[in-house]
């Protein structure tokens, strides 16, 4: 059901355009640095086009197709020519991979470009495992982690097993599953500020499921969910640490976690 077929011929030393994503760029550059390290470790050359800002979801998901298309064109142009385009988010990459094409039905030039981009675009962890064939990482993370499946990555891109498989190769890490790991955390882009009460309850249910595992760290592959869950954990006085999975895989989770204070 998922169109996730890897290309037949794999470039050994591909040039990868990093789609940073706006939240990573603004909130947590360490996630992008981790992504660069993981990609470079596979032998890829990483480029970061300066002309990128956001994938356009805020406009797209609020029905503003004019602005959404303008931003999509900007992304399409900025990332032409790379062997692959990779980003540390199932949500943004799902948009590029599945929702750009839908927006250019009446624009043959950009439809073709959008299809071309979609075929080259991947979410980070699934790119590492499915395309570059990474089976393990040589890093250590001491702790018990639980993994939240972000909705877009899970349902639009079919990402479920990949992060778990590769996390199990991190030394010192033990993975424990939470109840309803595949149920939405209540982020939903602008949903979370339009309907804060409903969103807060969904986040709260997620926090309870996390606590019930006894894990000391929460991981996920999408910063939107992570900011929402970390914010709610903090509000509830819960000290569970929160990282993006890329930070742990790259051995770069030695910085403060999301929403963690510094003395």
């Amino acid at each position: 059901m998922y169109d996730n077929n890897p290309p037949k011929v794999r470039t050994q030393k591909p040039v990868v355009g990093l789609f940073v994503t706006c939240l990573t760029d603004l909130y947590r550059p360490s996630v992008a640095l981790a992504a660069v390290k993981l990609l470079e470790d596979t032998g890829a050359t990483v480029k970061v086009p300066r002309a990128q800002t956001c994938c356009g979801q805020p406009a797209l998901n609020n029905g503003d197709l004019k602005h959404s298309r303008q931003i999509a064109r900007q992304v399409i142009d900025a990332f032409s020519g790379f062997d692959y385009v990779v980003g540390p988010s199932g949500s943004c990459m799902g948009t590029i991979k599945t929702h750009y094409v839908e927006q250019f039905k009446d624009d043959p030039e950009y439809l073709e470009k959008a299809e071309d981009l979609a075929a080259r675009s991947y979410e980070l962890v699934s790119f590492l495992t499915d395309i570059m064939g990474v089976k393990s990482v040589n890093t250590t993370f001491e702790g018990t982690v639980t993994y939240h499946d972000s909705c877009s990555g899970l349902r639009e891109l079919g990402i479920h097993k990949q992060p778990r498989k590769i996390l199990k190769t991190v030394k010192g890490l033990s993975l424990t599953e939470m109840h309803d790991s595949d149920v939405c955390c209540g982020f939903g882009g602008t949903f979370c500020v339009k309907y804060p009460e409903i969103s807060g309850r969904m986040a709260s249910a997620k926090c309870a499921n996390i606590r019930n595992t006894g894990a000391d760290t929460l991981l996920a592959g999408d910063l939107g969910c992570l900011l929402n869950i970390a914010g709610r954990l903090r509000r509830e006085g819960d000290q569970t640490r929160v990282f993006h999975i890329a930070e742990v895989l790259a051995g770069m989770a030695d910085c403060p976690g999301i929403a963690e204070g510094q003395e």
Binding site: R50, A51, A59, L60, D64, E197, R234, C255, I258
Partner: protein, 474 residues
């Protein structure tokens, strides 16, 4: 039923404080979600059946006019009558006239969402008819004067205690004075009261899960058997159904029935699957003397020609709402009309207007769990987004959101300004939020900070860090 979808926020706030409702909603997981998962995984061809059903229904919808006429022809050839209603009001008028002409005073109803959509009970009662619901859930709601909160479990929000009180009060008139508190005793009492109503009724009104063009039959699925009695005991049987219920053959019905019960309740098949075909024939032992089908459009023929066409595949199983985390927190009444959850959030704006129901397609995280379980693979999140596009294009979206998006989009399309501006902003926020690592409150961000902290950024943006790194490298 007067739509109240405009009040979605207030209604959902009320629902979230309602402890007995919250208790009932917690049962969704065990009652429906697990049951569906178990029964779907027990049928190896389940996923293939979903594909087949989607494709078959798309074919059917492409020729719906032909199938509708064939169905009408078949019903007529067997002595039945077919009536066409443009909307709920017309449906009520037609049903009322049929009952009036047949001199039917006492009417029993089998569960039908079309009846709810059209406000049939209220209309018939105001025309002087005596109407009684016979589906247990609907009967409870008739006593409590409420609308359904779920399409297949309409009284899911009611606790046993509340039902005990309702029955105790209402059944006194039938000489049943003792307050019952056990489920089995409550069911037995309802059966006793309803049985008399079945026997006394002049007309029975049911819905239809499917209408079969090749035989002129209607199919209803129930777990209580009230559908059978409503079809066969009264002298007049009236079927109220929407035009998208027509399918060509019994073979099609068998495909869809295999998906319906599994998706709805996790049953392989419901306890009763009832086919009724026309009035009683001379050599039949029983059955109605008159058989009427009232087909309602109510915006569906328009959907056939627009971006919402796929919604017409819906077979009303309720799986989307059972799996919706928003529905799971607020229940069905918060949606403000008869259809709740994801399918309701697509249908309601089409039937009562986007200006009334604009909240519904927005109150969704686009998590896609509904689409994942929809037996006929309706792209529900995509259809909700289509409503948002309509809303934006007809300027129903608030000006705050519109100007906000325009300003943000302008910035996003000007990276030369965006990057340095964001870098400075993030560095300031990082300094301010460094100690706690998060903000309890942030101006203009109360939607976020009312219910959770806003994590503080790390400092410089990645773009600025990368730029330095590139300059250093070169």
């Amino acid at each position: 039923m007067q739509p109240r979808s405009r009040d979605f926020k207030a209604l959902s706030a009320k629902s979230m404080k309602d402890e007995s409702l919250q208790g009932a909603l917690r049962q969704l997981e065990t009652g429906f979600v697990r049951a569906r998962r178990d029964s779907a995984s027990a049928l190896p061809e389940f996923e293939a059946l979903r594909d087949q059903a989607r494709d078959r229904l798309d074919d059917v919808l492409a020729n719906l006019d032909i199938h509708l006429l064939a169905y009408e022809q078949k019903v007529k050839s067997q002595g039945g009558h077919v009536h066409w209603a443009r909307d709920g009001k017309e449906l009520c008028e037609i049903v009322s006239k049929i009952c009036h002409d047949a001199e039917a005073k006492k009417i029993i109803r089998g569960k039908s969402m079309i009846g709810e959509e059209a406000g049939l009970n209220e209309a018939l009662e105001s025309d002087g008819f005596e109407v009684m619901e016979t589906d247990l859930g609907e009967y409870i709601l008739q006593l409590s004067k409420e609308g359904p909160s779920h399409i297949i479990a309409p009284a899911i929000h009611k606790t046993k205690d509340e039902i005990s009180d309702l029955f105790h009060e209402a059944h006194k008139a039938h000489g049943l004075t003792e307050r019952q508190s056990e489920t089995s005793a409550l069911v037995a009492e309802a059966r006793q009261v309803l049985r008399q109503a079945f026997l006394n009724a002049d007309a029975g009104i049911t819905g239809a899960n499917f209408l079969i063009a090749e035989t002129g039959s209607n199919i209803i699925v129930t777990n209580e058997g009230n559908g059978d009695l409503s079809c066969t005991l009264p002298r007049v049987h009236i079927v109220t159904a929407a035009i998208d219920k027509v399918i060509p053959t019994l073979e099609d019905a068998s495909l869809l029935l295999r998906l319906l019960a599994r998706s709805a309740t996790g049953q392989e098949i419901t306890a009763y699957t009832t086919l009724s075909t026309g009035p009683k024939h001379p050599d039949d032992a029983d059955g109605p003397e008159e058989y009427h089908v009232v087909l309602i459009d109510n915006g569906r023929s328009e959907m056939l020609g627009n971006e919402f066409r796929e919604m017409l595949r819906c077979i009303r199983c309720g799986a989307c709402m059972n799996h919706c985390p928003v529905y799971g927190n607020i229940g069905g009444h918060a949606y403000g009309w008869v259809y709740p959850g994801p399918m309701g959030s697509v249908l309601t704006p089409l039937m009562v207007g986007l200006d009334e129901a604009g909240n519904l397609p927005n109150a969704c995280t686009l998590n896609g769990r509904c689409q994942d379980v929809c037996p006929v693979r309706i792209p529900l999140p995509g259809l909700l987004k289509a409503h948002r596009v309509r809303e934006f294009e007809s300027r129903l979206t608030s000006s705050l959101v519109r100007y906000g998006l325009a300003g943000w989009a302008w910035l996003a399309r000007n990276p030369v300004i965006y990057h340095p501006l964001m870098n400075v902003s993030m560095r300031v926020m990082a300094v301010l939020g460094r100690r706690r690592g998060a903000f309890r409150w942030m101006p203009f961000a109360s939607g976020w900070t009312d219910v959770r902290d806003l994590p503080a950024p790390q400092g410089s943006t990645f773009q600025s860090i990368w730029r330095k790194r590139e300059r250093g490298d070169s």
